[in-house]
């Protein structure tokens, strides 16, 4: 060792590497603190859309129709009953014309009268008996007829019912076939229309939420814009097609639309067709 070696050439080991690692560590920690500690993301709470649906736009079920005609045959069956009473008066009517002929000769007349009386009484009895019998017969016949009629009516009713049912079924089947298509189409249309309406409401709400109304705005002016959209819903361009007359407000609406990018688009392709690639947008402040 050189004793003359000057102190100025002396070195001393310095933990440079350790210090460097620590310095980097401090910065990394600070960066992490900044990134995770402070919420740099301005997250506007997404507007919550609630659609209140009473029920789905229902198409009347085709099966419901046929049962309705069924009650109708009953009125048709009821009328046959009233014709039953008339036969009674018809049976009594022949009696009166006999009486005037017996009053012309006295003696004969009396005997005859007696006889006739007896005859008549007999006849009356017989007639009564006959009548009774006839009535009973008639009643029986009536009953039988009624029963028949009833049976017939019921048969008819049943036939009618069956017919109706068959018709109904056939119609229902036909209807079902046609209606299935129509219903599917209309249901789909309704669904698409519903989705479209829902998304129009959502887009309006989003744009409205982003609109900063100029302070000098009066009334409720309408702005129409042509918004060109990418399929993802991102706004490509906005063009005012009908100004509200207030350029500041027009500007605010255009900015709001741009700021609302991406617009909420429906997942359904048909529904999306109403929005992409161009959307005519009507905006009112209130």
């Amino acid at each position: 060792m050189n004793p003359r070696r000057d102190a100025r050439f002396l070195t001393r080991s310095v933990p440079r590497f350790r210090a460097g690692v620590l310095a980097l560590g401090v910065h990394a920690a600070f960066a992490l603190l900044l990134v995770f500690g402070v919420s740099w993301q301005v997250q506007q709470p997404a507007p919550v859309m609630v659609d209140v649906w009473d029920a789905l736009p229902s198409i009347p079920p085709p099966r419901a129709a046929p049962p309705q005609p069924a009650p109708e045959p009953e009125p048709d069956v009821a009328p046959p009953e009233p014709p039953a009473p008339p036969p009674k008066p018809a049976a009594e009517a022949p009696a009166p014309p006999k009486a005037p002929d017996l009053a012309l000769e006295k003696r004969k007349a009396e005997e005859e009268k007696k006889r006739a009386e007896a005859e008549r009484q007999e006849a009356l009895k017989a007639r009564q008996a006959a009548e009774e019998k006839a009535r009973a017969d008639a009643a029986r016949a009536e009953e039988a007829r009624k029963a028949r009629e009833k049976q017939a009516a019921e048969q008819q009713k049943r036939d009618l019912l069956r017919q109706f049912e068959e018709e109904g079924l056939q119609r229902a089947e036909q209807e079902a076939g046609l209606a299935a298509q129509a219903a599917a189409a209309s249901r789909r249309q309704a669904a698409v229309a519903g989705v479209v309406a829902q998304h129009i409401a959502m887009i309006s709400a989003k744009v409205r939420g982003n609109t900063r109304l100029p302070p000098d705005l009066t009334g409720n002016p309408e702005v129409r814009c042509l918004v060109k959209l990418l399929p993802t819903g991102e706004v490509r361009s906005v063009q005012v097609t009908k100004s509200s007359g207030n350029p500041a407000y027009d500007d605010a609406v255009v900015r709001a639309i741009e700021k609302s990018s991406p617009l909420p688009l429906p997942d359904d392709r048909d529904a999306r067709a109403s929005f992409v690639p161009e959307l005519s947008f009507v905006h009112r402040p209130k």
Binding site: V14, A19, H27
Partner: protein
């Protein structure tokens, strides 16, 4: 999408979207901050080591150890010796050399010894104080550099605003936010630098006082030896 209207205020996004002067300022400040923290840690270790070594040496020296043995040990490991040990070594070496030469008066020997010790003391103190001026500079200048970046960024933001018919806060907000990051970086670099600068100068002052006291006391001891010799 119009970048001016985007509300994405992520830190990285803001920094990357800043104008070039602001980005330069930010890079400068990050560099200054990294370097100042590096020096802060280097100084921290160096001062800790110096204090420990000084404590140990004073303990040994005033514990009545043999000066010749101590000198041999210290000169054998000069590179790793503490500040006070080096002062002791330089003074003792000079003292022995002068003492061996004939016809040297006591005051001459003592003057030479003192000069040797003072020179080593200055050099050691210089070593201890190295880089402290950098910390002082970062501490005093980086807020201004950051402020410059902020002013520039806000200027750009307002210039951009002038071309728009209707001014809204949303148009200047990102620009101002990105500009303010420069100030934040300046402060982040400056605050630790100032704190550590103050603390280290204080620590070094105390060490310097101890070394000067030791030099005086050691001179007394050597002077007694010249008388004795």
């Amino acid at each position: 999408m119009n970048p001016e209207l985007s509300q994405d205020l992520s830190l990285l996004h803001l920094i990357l979207n800043a104008s070039v002067p602001v980005q330069i300022v930010m890079a400068l400040l990050v560099g200054a901050s990294l370097l100042s923290w590096w020096f802060i840690f280097i100084k921290m270790f160096a001062l800790k080591r110096a204090q420990r070594a000084t404590d140990a040496f004073e303990h040994e020296f005033w514990g009545g150890a043999d000066l010749n043995l101590m000198f041999k040990r210290v000169s054998a490991e000069r590179d790793e010796a503490g500040e006070m040990e080096r002062i002791f070594e330089a003074g003792f070496r000079e003292f022995m050399k002068l003492k061996q030469q004939a016809g040297m008066s006591a005051s001459f020997i003592m003057d030479g010894t003192r000069r040797a010790m003072r020179a080593t003391y200055q050099r050691e103190l210089d070593g201890l104080e190295s880089h402290l001026s950098f910390l002082a500079t970062v501490g005093s200048v980086s807020p201004y550099v950051g402020l410059f970046g902020t002013v520039w960024g806000i200027m750009i933001a307002f210039l951009g605003l002038s071309s728009v018919a209707q001014a809204t806060l949303a148009q200047v907000a990102p620009g101002i936010a990105e500009a303010l990051i420069a100030t934040a970086m300046g402060l982040f670099a400056a605050i630790p630098a100032v704190i550590s600068y103050n603390r280290y100068t204080h620590d070094i002052d105390r060490l310097a006082n101890r070394m000067e006291s030791f030099m005086e006391e050691f001179s007394n001891i050597l002077q007694r030896q010249t008388k004795a010799a």
